[in-house]
Point group: C2
Chain length 427, copies 2
């Protein structure tokens, strides 16, 4: 006998989890399509050199990689961004440009599993490639808003900043050459607090005044709204710049379309990764901030440069579906619990098999989600347990020449003459 276990850090998804997950994916896909975004897919396996962006050297330990039977060094994708960059380099001449794509799919990382972190996880990415403008940036922000709105999540805050403006600030402080280390330090503000971040900044810059100025910059939104913060930042970098102007335009779009109240300008948002070149953002649920950002991204103007000379500026965001689902569970969202199977289940006896098959066929042909409980000899208790496990709201039994339909929650019963009557009740 083989032990039927799954690997550490991996999970099965039972219907009680898979149904809500699918519902969420469908709602998101429908919003993406309303915004004119189209789906793509890429292989789960790629050349290791393509995914890691280098020919050899020490392989990232977190990646699942191996040699295939043909001796090729291959790896499983660890996000959807790198394969997308490779995809763009290969196909940009066939694609409509600007190209708006979404991609909902799994990725894998061998990191040590912790609460809410798995080695197999679902990413949901949406990007616009081929244009660098405030309108494109706003398309992504408004799509982020619409995505959560469609899931019934409106008690949330989008934290926006600009990597480009921050770089201008670092240039003014003469520490531009240390920007990557500084960005990584600033990225930790939410986790370790400003005193600790100041210590790291001091280590990096060896200058108290510079460290203080950076701390003052990244905490400059305190007590201020979006546009006030942008104006304060503007004065800190020494006056208007193209990047500040871009941010003001984006803000005007947020305001004109009535969604500005969901957005704050938060100069501490930098997104640790170094490929961002413009706007960056993270998203926090007001009632579950501790879960971390549920949707993050930004503008990157050189993403595909590893694979092509073509300049393909892009802006996009990524929703971590597993984390979002965990958050919805924590918030007791009905969305996380909607695991309804069929609308009605037919209970029948041995003698009623023909009738049951025919009734199921008829109801389904008319579009009613209908289950048959396929064990005709079972007691009522087993029948009801079955219906409850599948959250089926109605049962149907045969009585005289009609149908006895029972609401399994209220226990209310109705005698119905024909199939259309059954559909009317159970729909």
């Amino acid at each position: 006998m083989i032990d039927p276990i799954v690997l550490k850090g991996f999970r099965d998804s039972l219907p009680s989890e898979e149904i809500p997950k699918k519902n969420i994916e469908r709602k998101l896909e429908s919003v993406f399509e309303t915004f004119g975004f189209v789906p793509i897919d890429t292989p789960v396996l790629e050349y290791e050199s393509v995914l890691l962006g280098k020919g050899g050297g020490e392989t990232d330990k977190q990646i699942f990689h191996f040699e295939d039977n043909g001796g090729r060094k291959v790896a499983m994708r660890f996000d959807l961004t790198v394969p997308f960059a490779r995809f763009l380099a290969l196909h940009h001449s066939e694609l409509p440009l600007p190209f708006k794509r979404y991609h909902i799919a799994k990725a894998w990382r061998g990191e040590n599993p912790q609460k809410g972190r798995y080695r197999e996880f679902i990413q949901c990415d949406f990007d616009i490639v081929g244009v660098d403008s405030a309108e494109a940036d706003f398309e992504i922000l408004s799509l982020m808003y619409a995505s959560f709105n469609t899931l019934g999540i409106t008690n949330l805050t989008f934290h926006v900043a600009s990597r480009a403006i921050f770089n201008e600030f670092l240039e003014k402080l003469n520490v531009k050459d240390k920007s990557i280390e500084i960005l990584r330090a600033v990225d930790k503000l939410r986790k370790i607090g400003d005193a600790e971040v100041r210590n790291i900044l001091l280590d990096i810059t060896k200058d108290e005044e510079t460290a203080d100025k950076i701390i003052s910059y990244i905490t400059s939104s305190e007590g201020l709204n979006f546009i006030e913060t942008v104006e304060k930042i503007e004065s800190l970098i020494g006056g208007e710049s193209e990047n500040v102007l871009r941010m003001k335009t984006i803000y005007s779009y947020l305001k004109e379309n009535g969604i500005d109240k969901y957005f704050v300008y938060d100069p501490s948002i930098t997104r640790g990764l170094d490929y961002y070149t413009g706007i960056v953002y993270e998203t926090f649920l007001n009632d579950a901030e501790q879960i971390g950002s549920v949707c993050s991204g930004g503008r990157y103007n050189n993403l595909a440069s590893l694979y092509t000379k073509e300049i393909l500026p892009g802006v996009g965001a990524s929703i971590g579906l597993d984390r979002l689902l965990a958050a919805l569970n924590e918030l007791n969202s009905p969305l996380a619990k909607d695991n309804k199977g069929a609308n009605v289940v037919i209970f029948y006896s041995e003698e009623e098999k023909d009738k049951a098959v025919k009734t199921a066929f008829g109801l389904r042909t008319k579009g009613l989600a209908t289950d048959m409980y396929l064990l005709p000899n079972k007691k009522a208790k087993a029948q009801y347990e079955y219906a409850e496990k599948l959250s089926i709201p109605y049962s149907l039994q045969f009585k005289d020449d009609g149908y006895l339909v029972k609401n399994l929650k209220t226990r209310e019963t109705n005698m119905i003459k024909d199939i259309d009557g059954v559909i009317e009740i159970c729909r």
Copy 2:
């Protein structure tokens, strides 16, 4: 620069392929749910021993397998059936039984790529576990019919047979001990013809009469309809049996529900794999038979026995989505070509940016799939090429105080006063 290539046998899916694929998946999921089937998911990676059903020995060369960073022998799933058996062994006590699940997901095999065969492919499986009855068998057959019907495919034939009845026949011929080899030989009939199969059977049985009898059995449907064939088979095995009775009941369900004309009893269908124990079936498109079966399966009464002592009889089928999509393409089905993006695309100038953003926001809020062509300085030619690549049917431009809506196929234009008017035309 890194070459942006994909691995041999793998493919990117561009929107022109991914949109129809998603449409097909959604239609299938909707049918599955109408039949009361619920979704599950399992990990892409499993212990090699779990997937290959043995602790060690020579690994199947077609499987992608490797040692992970923790020294575990792991493999990528090569179908959805084996993981489902493992899933059942692990979770059967939490599941509603009988359990009806569907699973649409990728699987991987390292076989040599040929036309229409890839190393990464999508399977679409649906099964009922926990019951062994004609009603359960019919649920799967009628779901197969409904699946293709919902895709607009009605010019097809389901070829049904019974592995159990065939085994009775082999017992009668005293060659039951060679049944696996015989089944494999019979499975080749469609490919190599009856003369060639007879030679192989002769090799196996060393007896001309036995070989002839088997050939006569597997070709016994010639000129006969479903029930006539079953009756002929019945006489060949020497009278009624439970298995024949089961098949007659299934046929009566097909007939009573008016779908018998899509089914033939074809005694040559055996499904080479040895885990089937009852009904088996394959599905051929009448206009594209050469493509092979697009949906196959059958009853297996010991599937999870490698992992558990629990007896879990099952019946199910599997649609090969890549093969189906290839067939739909070959048949010029509109389903394979439906790669429509948004309903309308907004073309605007630099000066109209504000208006464009606001109009897009308004149309999307009301549910109309709306794209903005984000390069406001481009010529009309570039605009139309963009819309054409995305099969967007309408364009919108600003004129005076209203909207100029153009049908991009007929070139017909309309001046519209308000957003609701735009929605009415473009919906």
